[in-house]
């Protein structure tokens, strides 16, 4: 029997602030446990939260980049539960009046082409701490460095139809958040985390089936794997005439299996109510506009402009806009006078591999443009230019200087070319005779020999006339 898969994701994105949501503690990753804490994030008696204006700004930026409506009034609420990683016994979040709602995000589905996920809401909350099970034998330790780190929770609608689409959506979402400078979205550092909801229904059926939720997935690959596993499990249940039970699941990357969480871990009545320590968050329309104005050009718009403005292929435009740094670099090279299609080849080719190795672009845009000019005017062969480029990534010198130093500048001097030609003609009497007998294709062979004799330094455009002249002149 056929089933339609319905998936919706809840994504937690760490807002890229230097300090926590409600206190001045640092958000730096990887510090020794409990070194970035204060009375506020430890929940000591008498401490009170004061909101981080930058976190609100970044959350609004995230919301606007997702085309959400940012509400002029939103309310912080307490989400109450006991857990050792939660110092106050409640998490400050937003409930019935979130910061923003009703947005959308476009992504490309392999099956369905261009698609869109509705963004139901984006709200601000504080992170909890972390339980460490491996530090002290037989005991669980608590690290509260993360407690109070600002997060945006992005709740997407049930608009995804396959695990692969879930991954494509996450890729688009991460790209957008990085572009908008909301978050570095590093799953390794926990600055992007995913809960996935999945249900199956008959094709054409309007109502949603009973869903399960897979909690706290820590990589895009695991999101896809976990959803595939869970889809197969639900399908087997339904095909056998059974009913899916609404549960929360955890996914083990080691076994590839999902398992239900203990009911104690998930069946909470959170008893939300407005946090009386924090007045309603009131944002003026002018402030919201100012955040909108500071948004950079977002990936989709930039991709379109690269195709129409620079005449690039959709593929190249996609690669170049995959990260803001790459797109910015490409445009900087073009701004230095480089021809766009050639620049696209260089950036997606040599420059990109250097970028991925080093984590940044190693050749300044004006230097790459300079190198391209030397190829354009025939000073360097394309082959030689690649060698020069590799040298430029480490030397920091200009292309011309590197080319000189490596002796890669093409030789166009007639006397020098004549000497190489003479030597080749003398060494290949048979081929010369065949050429003279009318076998003109031998010209290619002889040109190649001249290039070889020059060790690639001869300008191929200059070699042929000299060769023809000398062959005729004998």
């Amino acid at each position: 029997m056929t089933w339609e898969t319905v998936i919706g994701l809840e994504v937690h994105v760490q807002l890229g602030t230097r300090s926590k949501m409600f206190c001045g503690c640092s958000t730096a990753f990887g510090e020794p446990p409990n070194t970035q804490v204060c009375p506020v994030c430890l929940g000591l008696p008498g401490a009170l939260p004061s909101p981080n204006a930058m976190a609100i700004r970044l959350a609004a930026r995230a919301a606007l980049s997702l085309e959400c409506t940012v509400h002029e009034t939103s309310v912080f609420a307490r989400k109450n539960y006991f857990y050792p990683d939660l110092p106050k016994g409640y998490q400050i979040s937003q409930f019935d009046r979130p910061l923003s709602s009703n947005g959308r995000l476009a992504f490309e589905s392999a099956d369905r082409g261009p698609c869109e996920v509705r963004i139901e809401r984006l709200h601000v909350e504080e992170d909890a701490g972390k339980l460490l099970h491996d530090r002290i034998a037989g005991r669980t330790a608590v690290d509260l460095n993360r407690a109070g780190v600002p997060l945006a929770e992005i709740v997407g609608g049930p608009d995804l139809r396959s695990p692969a689409e879930a991954r494509a959506y996450l890729t688009a979402l991460r790209q957008l958040m990085v572009y908008a400078e909301v978050s570095e979205c590093s799953m390794e550092k926990g600055s992007l985390r995913v809960d996935a909801n999945i249900s199956l229904r008959r094709p054409g059926q309007a109502a949603l089936g009973t869903k399960t939720e897979i909690k706290n997935l820590n990589s895009f690959a695991n999101v896809e794997r976990a959803l595939e596993t869970e889809r197969a499990r639900q399908q087997a249940v339904l095909d056998a005439g059974g009913m899916v039970e609404q549960v929360s699941l955890t996914f083990s990357a080691a076994t590839g299996q999902t398992r239900p969480m203990r009911s104690k871990e998930e069946s909470h009545d959170y008893r939300y109510f407005p946090d009386p320590d924090l007045p309603p968050l009131v944002l003026s329309p002018e402030w919201i506009d100012s955040v909108r104005r500071e948004l950079p050009e977002l990936p989709a718009a930039r991709r379109r402009r690269f195709v129409t403005g620079y005449g690039l292929s959709a593929y190249d435009a996609g690669v170049l806009t995959s990260e803001r740094t790459i797109a910015d670099y490409f445009e900087a090279v073009v701004a230095e006078g480089a021809e766009p299609k050639g620049a696209a080849n260089w950036v997606t080719g040599e420059a990109m591999s250097a970028y991925h190795d080093a984590g940044h672009f190693t050749v300044a845009p004006e230097r790459l443009a300079g190198l391209m000019r030397l190829v354009g005017d025939g000073t360097l062969s394309h082959q030689a230019a690649k060698k020069v480029y590799v040298e430029m990534t480490t030397s920091g010198q200009e292309a011309a200087a590197v080319a000189d130093r490596l002796g890669l500048v093409q030789v166009r001097d007639e006397a020098a070319l004549g000497a190489w030609v003479d030597a080749v003609l003398a060494a290949h009497p048979t081929e010369v005779a065949r050429y003279r007998a009318g076998e003109t294709k031998m010209l290619g062979f002889l040109t190649g020999q001249v290039m070889k004799a020059s060790r690639g330094k001869a300008d191929p455009k200059g070699v042929q006339p000299v060769l023809v002249r000398k062959l005729g002149g004998l």
Binding site: P39, L42, G43, L44, P45, G46, A47, L48, P49, S50, P51, R78, N80, F82, P84, P87, K88, G89, Y90, V142, K264, D269, R271, F273, D275, P276, D277, L278, P279
Partner: protein, 460 residues
Amino acid sequence: MSAGEAAREVGQRLRAASRLNATLAWSDAALEAEAARVDAMPVPGPLHGMPVAVKDNIVTTEQPTTCGSRMLAGYVSPFNATVTDRLRGAGALIACKTNLDEFAMGSSTEHSAYGRVLHPLDPDRVPGGSSGGSAALVAAGVVPAALGSETGGSVRQPASFCGVVGVKPTYGRVSRYGLVAFGSSLDCVSVFGRTVSDAQRVLASIAGLDPLDATTVDQPPLETLPGPASLTGRTIGLPREYFPPDLHPGVKAGCDAAIARMKELGARIVEVSLPHARFAVPTYYILAPAEAAANLARFDGARYGARVTVEGDIRAMYRATRGLGFGAEVRRRILTGTYVLSAGYHDAYYNRAQGVRARIAGDFALVFASGVDFLFTPTTPTPAFKAGEKTADPVAMYLADVFVCSANLAGLPAVSLPVGRSEGLPVGGQFMAPHFQEAGMLACAATLERHLDATREVAR
């Protein structure tokens, strides 16, 4: 008098008053250190050398802050409350920490893990609560002023019982940073004084915007106005709901005498109505416990304070710690608060109470918009009651706050001052004012204070 002399004197008085059980932590050494600090101040502050007692739910780094609970026995805060920093900045001496109902939950200071506080005039009676220790010390003449805290009248009610002045500021006037939270939307650090003027000076020193408390409001500094010679031009409203037929005759007589005196001083007296007043106590006893249940969740034995170790998982430790660490009244309120917020009851209790709270505030807004400057009412339905009289009946205890908790629900400033005595026990009258109108309200109270002999037995 130097701060050092003041410190030695207050030390002697604290020792002499120890029978009241009003203090928790204090020491001669700490007092001397306070005095040395004040005497070293290059410029004397407005409270130079004034000893001020501090309720033990306001955190200080020099002494433990127990909140009157076993849960925080010996707990020393690593930071000071904004109000204690400001008191010190103004040149005051922190005299001692004072006993209170556990986590400020109570109206008699009988619910302290460290024993009940005695009424200074009658050891068989309660001083009121929850700030009973602070009230008793001011009434006994140990300190001229003290900090307390109010969630539902916990300064004005004991002020009335003990015969001293108690001022609750507008919500947002004084920082709550360092006040251990009970009902955060209601909590106000509040002030006791022997006179209106002392209370006014202390309040002015601790008031003002605090970046550490997002609910503080930026207002011009609080003026300390003298009481005017007459009350001509002032309109005083008497809400009829606050003068029920069964009001204690001594309380009624004391208030009547005060009203008559205000009339003589030129005030226009009008009867007004606050129709939702009767819902104040039930509304309060839904909202305050709801917030308290969340605020007290942090006392779980995991990071600080008491921990009861038992067999089983962490939930077993939570249960044991909270079951033994909290007293009965605190547990009762946590259970009530958890219930009114739980799924299925949230609308019927918490949401409805929020609606009623808005109506109670609306009543006050209407009355003040009608030309009434201040309201005057009895502070409590009776003078101080006997110890043990209401401990078995929580609702009877809660009704001791019937006239005081509306001001907390509406966020209004209010002051209780002694207006006479009934069978030797003080009777208090209360003014309530529009938001941030403390200066005018206190000036009016100062004028009345000057023209009343509050130690006089009022006719029955």
